[in-house]
Symmetry: C2
Subunit: 369 residues, 2 copies
């Protein structure tokens, strides 16, 4: 074995959902939007001066997109960081904020990329179990109810000192959303470390923690264009925080790659922000189909968790989960199945068009007999 083998970084990569290249597939496995982005986004790309835009380096500050997002969210200059998808943004956030010997903490059932980033960057971590209903309990992240301080202290000793907190809200793959007040308890209970709230699915939910940015200097919110903005193919994610923390992220990002966002990606991102009416209408479409999907799955004897996202997490009771997964695959319907101990009886099913969901229901009927 060559000696350089010893110097290779040891990792266990994240495995994304399959991306079958066939057209003849109903793809409900990676939480893509069933609707395209605004026609104005497509037009913006087709009409741009591509010769010049390709030849030259893009703006390393991604200024147009950053300013569009600042305006859209009513933030001050310096409060937005952009990257190539929220995975890039989260990765930079881990590298920037989690440099301590104490473990960062996140739920045991959540976005399975968190432990992968921790591993690749050598960050210790500890997984905090969700409760039996797959809920995040602020008490498990250091929150002590003032009404109940005595009993909390009696129970004490189990809350680890941590090097940071990561909460996906709504959580994935459960789809369950925590109300703002509860996320605030987690942020307030951890003032000495950075708390990342991953809001990848927030547009399908109700309560962002965005209004809390004024009150907490340890809060970083991460969003993506890949779900509600129907731009998974263009690779845009962003973080919102104080100018101090955004500057720290930019310093790290600029120590890795001066220009991550392509000219076409920047153009498409700005165009998406500009067509808010289209954006909100498509979110409504997905919400309606989601409501109907939950009803239809329950009719078919599924246990369906409450969903604040563009997917449902549902467990069939009439047929084994793996069987259903494989039988759907065989019918060219792709959903997502995870092997984790607590969730292996569930399927994560992306909300598609009504027609795609009808095909899913028909297939389930056929399989369940």
């Amino acid at each position: 074995m060559p000696k350089w083998e010893d110097n290779l970084r040891q990792v266990t990569p994240y495995v994304p959902g399959a991306q079958p290249q066939s057209k003849n597939v109903i793809k409900l496995n990676t939480n893509e939007n069933p609707y395209p982005p605004s026609p104005k986004v497509v037009k913006a790309i087709q009409e741009m001066d591509l010769e010049t835009a390709m030849r030259k380096y893009p703006d390393p500050t991604s200024g147009d997109l950053v300013h569009a997002l600042e305006n859209y969210h009513g933030l001050d200059e310096g409060q937005i960081f952009v990257g190539t998808g929220s995975d890039d943004v989260l990765s930079i956030a881990f590298l920037t904020f989690f440099n301590s010997d104490r473990p960062i903490i996140f739920p045991d059932v959540t976005y399975s990329f968190y432990p992968v980033w921790a591993q690749v960057y050598g960050i210790p971590y500890r997984e905090i179990p969700l409760d039996e209903s797959f809920r995040i309990l602020p008490e498990d992240y250091g929150w002590i109810d003032p009404e109940n301080r005595a009993s909390a202290i009696d129970e004490g000793g189990d809350i680890p000192e941590n090097g940071g907190v990561v909460i996906a809200n709504p959580n994935a793959p459960t789809g369950i959303s925590l109300k703002r007040g509860y996320v605030e308890q987690i942020i307030a209970a951890n003032p000495d470390v950075i708390v990342i709230v991953d809001e990848a699915y927030i547009d399908y939910s109700r309560e962002s923690v965005l209004p809390l940015l004024h009150d907490y200097d340890n809060l970083v919110i991460v969003r993506t264009f890949s779900k509600s903005r129907a731009m998974a193919g263009m690779r845009i994610g962003y973080a919102m925080s104080s100018p101090r923390l955004i500057r720290a992220m930019n310093d790290v990002a600029q120590s890795i790659n001066s220009y991550t966002m392509s000219a076409t990606t920047l153009k498409a991102g700005v165009a998406s922000i500009e067509d808010d009416e289209y954006f909100r209408a498509r979110i409504e479409d997905v919400r309606k189909t989601r409501a109907r999907t939950i009803v239809e799955l329950k009719k078919r004897f599924f246990n369906v968790l409450p969903s604040s996202t563009n997917f449902v997490f549902a467990s069939p009771s009439r047929v084994k989960c793996e069987t259903l997964f494989e039988e759907l695959c065989a019918r060219n319907i792709f959903v997502r199945h995870f092997n984790g101990e607590r969730i292996r009886d569930y399927l994560r099913i992306t909300i598609g068009t009504d027609r795609e969901m009808d095909a899913l229901f028909a297939a389930i009927d056929e399989i369940q007999g």
Copy 2:
């Protein structure tokens, strides 16, 4: 000061060349191509099914682009890694290959991003001085001339045990190219560590180390689409190596971001590879203008280093370097000046169109009086 300040990663970011947004500028400061990419590249973007491409995640394996590059270079499957510019590729390579306590080594005058990656990832490094003519000497990287072994051993003790080697060939910002045989000496002298050869400018040079891939299992070659392929705005770089090392890079990359390459970037990259005739013709155009530029600068009493790149590294003798830099800026002509001790009397001047270079020469005449 909040306690989380202690956990922020300490970095000194790379500072890229200025990207003035004004149109009225002659931009010779970031080694962009003065010619646009092939018209077929622009057409490929304009004619693609953008609605679907945007909505869905791109192929996480970047298969089309990877296979196009494998074919183009006559490589086997698994020998190409792609990323968002060669900066991304180099960053992943540093993170993948340089995990040892020994310092990695690279020249003192070279791409100034190398020490930045080393710092951000906590990799020790040592800079090896170029000789007085700005040349890389293989002896300084552990090579011992067999004809001269006795004297080499007598001198010994100064070659550090290293954790890896990075060589830019041609080197930047000097523009000087090392012949393949000399780079091979460096690769051969360091069999226990990975040697990265950064060939960002190789298309303007003569001798790639690509033919050496068969013979050395420790060689990783990095290329970019940002210079000769006129696609800085699209963010494409790639590495060529053995399937073993490419797999190691992919494992690390997939532990950071499953999808870095946007759908438009992948499409543009493939289209560029397909139009080889256009590509080679534009390289010839730049070479011709480079030859003329060297003659014209020498006429104006510049010391010009031999260039195997799309820029020249040149030192004025009739006027102070900083003065010339500032006077050119004042005339809306941007070139690059670095503050390093050994190179502060030089300007790095990108080869533009003949017309842009004529404007540069006229401005120099005016400034030198």
